[in-house]
Symmetry: D2
Amino acid sequence: MDKKEYAIFSTEIIVRPDDIDMNNHVHFSRYLDYFLAARYDQMGRCYKLSMEEFIEMGYNWVASNMNINYKRALKLGDVAIVKTQISSFNGAQVKANFWIYNKETNKLISDGYGNFTLINIKNLRPTRIPQEILDKYLVLENFA
Amino acid sequence: MDKKEYAIFSTEIIVRPDDIDMNNHVHFSRYLDYFLAARYDQMGRCYKLSMEEFIEMGYNWVASNMNINYKRALKLGDVAIVKTQISSFNGAQVKANFWIYNKETNKLISDGYGNFTLINIKNLRPTRIPQEILDKYLVLENFA
Amino acid sequence: MDKKEYAIFSTEIIVRPDDIDMNNHVHFSRYLDYFLAARYDQMGRCYKLSMEEFIEMGYNWVASNMNINYKRALKLGDVAIVKTQISSFNGAQVKANFWIYNKETNKLISDGYGNFTLINIKNLRPTRIPQEILDKYLVLENFA
Amino acid sequence: MDKKEYAIFSTEIIVRPDDIDMNNHVHFSRYLDYFLAARYDQMGRCYKLSMEEFIEMGYNWVASNMNINYKRALKLGDVAIVKTQISSFNGAQVKANFWIYNKETNKLISDGYGNFTLINIKNLRPTRIPQEILDKYLVLENFA
């Protein structure tokens, strides 16, 4: 039988001067911003369910935790390739993995994962991810 | 007769590592953030009309233009003293001046001014600043 | 005779979630970051003299003043088109104009200009822009 | 026998408007910036070995990984109390824990830990933390 996994999507992000810190490379917290920027881009473009649509449906996503490893650094002039992949769903939470590469060298810069919780905008409480949303995320790749 | 001017208020802001750019000093756009942070602090603390109260009243402030001069730079470990002063009112707009000092050296780091426009949250259009708000800003200092 | 002007170059910048503030649009100081990001991109790509080359030559550019007008706002999901144009040179200073457009609507979001000063890295003092650098910037467009 | 632990130090950080995102609370990556700002403050003020002194000694600290949990959110007008504590040393690495509280409510906003690696500035390689530096960090509290 085929082994199936959630699809990996990719977003290109240019390093901006305001991302650079005193060490002459992208500031450590900005890699999380690159991860989030990629998720937003991919929500609309790849899963066909943009953040704006979530908000219209009365939902919001908030971060519950983040784990990030720093392997190398991006510098000014570099372009980041940010790959993300749904890892699992659990009640109100989705776990997403990410990998940030240097576009030119193809080397891994940073990786990690984060859990996001679906919130009902009305009462600001976590809410079980509805099946119609789960279905949207079931974009599979076949690695058989 | 006394010469009267709008009061000058002062806010202390510590330089954070994420404010520092590749030149090892505070990134050029962050001085505007320091200005805005000082205005927010002073709105509630000095004029007794916080941003939250503006929003409850159905108003918002948006920047219309900003002009900033860079004289010296702040570095990590420095503390900024951000002074602001209302310069004038005109319809929906207020003009505010600012001066950013290095707390330790007392030297002028940056100065400038910005115009902010009062917006009616319902229609997102500029709205004449009401007299009761103007009255709140009439905190005068007597330099006679 | 032909009317000549300095060339206008264009850089595309995607709006990231960390650029958005409590007003649900790009934070007011970030438009200056977009301007600077465009200048860096265009220095290497259009004038063939990147910031890294300036630093190798013993120079650095620092901002002396910035003037920015806010006309409309960019939101999450928007793409900025940032156009910049050299306006004039004066001793150690170059004045550059900028215009930020919404890529989709083609509407003007923000415009303004800034003066940058060439610094000698050794003594950190302003230094007259050498002719070989001025020549690099003489990328003209013929609007005759 | 006494139970000894590394000291917990505390730094106060005001929330700035540029920290707030579209959800009207401090942007998720900024809590890591608050953690780092607290470490810098405490390095000089509490351990008597500032970042500047590290650099003069030919060292730098870089982040190797970060783990952060989000419990509640800080809003504009809030003040963060950022507590950090050395957890352990291992070769070139130090592990530090952090807890971010809302100063007014005393509620826990976020916690986590990060590993930082000591780098030799000359070769940019990890370097075993020297004993004289370890000694500086041996600021203990006695919880017996």
